[in-house]
Symmetry: C2
Subunit: 232 residues, 2 copies
DNA sequence: AGGAATTGTTGACACGCCGCCAACAGGGCG
DNA sequence: CGCCCTGTTGGCGGCGTGTCAACAATTCCT
């Protein structure tokens, strides 16, 4: 355990060093609350002078922002090839995919969703919101409603809200163990079907037409359409 | 704006002083993230020496704990008298009640749910969990499933998860304005009905019996029963 | 190869915040 | 009035954070 097992002062390329520090920060912030992690801790973990953290990330809060961004971005690898079938089939596949991803990245995912953010910081909220947006889009293409334009804003809002249910339900499974995977699957499938088959049509239907129906009062016949779009 | 508009050093009873400081802390922590609020700020806001905060609350984190407790407790005033009718009627009334409460305490409620907690602190998580528990119980009695014992743990878990949906949906309404009240009402009513009428029966049904069905394999006939229990 | 230029990296300084504690003073009691 | 009880204060020591000039590991040039 001599001092210079690795030369005590090695020069790395900016990206490499930045990435190394960020990785350590992710580990620490994922295990302890914001205020309990000092930049000194991060520096020690990375075997680096504390000042270097400020050099690369500016302030502690900016570092935390990067950490949150990484945490919420990792799980969203990409929407795998999704089967073409009727709505029920696609919803089922989507939920299965979600549960796979969530259980695979279990630890980091739990850390991410639990890290709602140190109180409510505007920037953190922005990052989280963007992540929700991406997640909602994934669900839309997976279910085959990506090209719907009728009440798109409301539809997306409902899907975002559904994301809240998915998160809470998955936590009941992975964190509490109060539900098993099959039960979670059943719950998420049934509720998503309800939203898409009942709630959304009702919103776009007669009630919606009386409120602001301008672009089109067409029924939601597009629900059966499977989007051929892939995700970046 | 003279210094001694109020005698600069007034003696209050412990409860009064504690309450005053706590109120100021709630206001400040409700407006800015944890790390951005110093005990000095709270002290200045309360017109009090900083040391007094430590005297009453011990540490800054303990003060924050109290703040979170207040925030999540305020909205849960009590479950009003709920009408006895069929399931759909009671669900409808419950959702209406929820939306009333949420829109009434709008600001404090938003602050509370957004304040997920500074990262993930164990104690903060405990307070939040207890609040979820209480909320879930409220829903159970309101819907008339308070006395169900069959798969009680799973049922409660599903209701807790539904709380995540309710929160997210209400935020889409109050914070984003992406949904209006009627749409939120529709969504929450339909999903809760789905969970109670479809998901829960399916869980307690044949699939459940094969897993651990011991106490009773009886169907969910208790769903129609209205609980006569009131809440504290 | 040797020296200069480049730039990743360090250590220390100043400032602010937090927890603690001895001293101070408001208000009731004999 | 003077005493005691206790709410309240102010300052001390320690720690965490942001900044900056100096340092040294590589690279490039001659």
């Amino acid at each position: 355990m001599s001092v210079d097992t690795e030369s005590r002062r090695r020069r790395l390329e900016p990206d490499a060093r930045r990435g190394q520090i960020l990785a350590c920060a992710v580990r620490l912030f994922g295990a302890r609350p914001y205020a309990d992690v000092s930049t000194t801790d991060v520096a020690r973990e990375a075997g680096v002078a504390r000042g270097l953290i400020n050099h690369y990330f500016g302030t502690k809060k900016q570092l935390y922002l990067e950490v949150v961004r990484v945490m919420v971005t990792v799980p969203g690898v990409a929407v795998e090839r999704l089967p073409a079938g009727d709505l029920r089939t696609r919803v089922d596949a989507s939920v299965t995919w979600f549960l796979d991803v969530v259980s695979r990245h279990r630890d980091s995912w739990l850390a991410a969703v639990t890290a709602g953010g140190m109180g409510h910081d505007a920037d953190v909220a922005r990052v989280l919101t963007e992540a929700e947006e991406v997640a909602a889009d994934s669900v839309l293409v997976a279910v085959g409603l990506a090209d719907v334009t009728v009440r798109r804003a409301e539809l997306r809002a409902m899907i975002r809200a559904y994301g809240g249910l998915a998160t809470a339900t998955a936590r009941e499974w992975l964190q509490r163990g109060a539900l098993d995977r099959d039960q979670v699957h059943l719950l998420l499938t049934a509720t998503l079907l309800t939203i898409v088959e009942q709630v959304y049509p009702a919103v776009v239907g007669p009630a919606g037409a009386a409120q602001a129906g301008g672009a089109g009062s067409g029924r939601c016949t597009a629900i059966g359409t499977v989007s051929s779009r892939a995700q970046s």
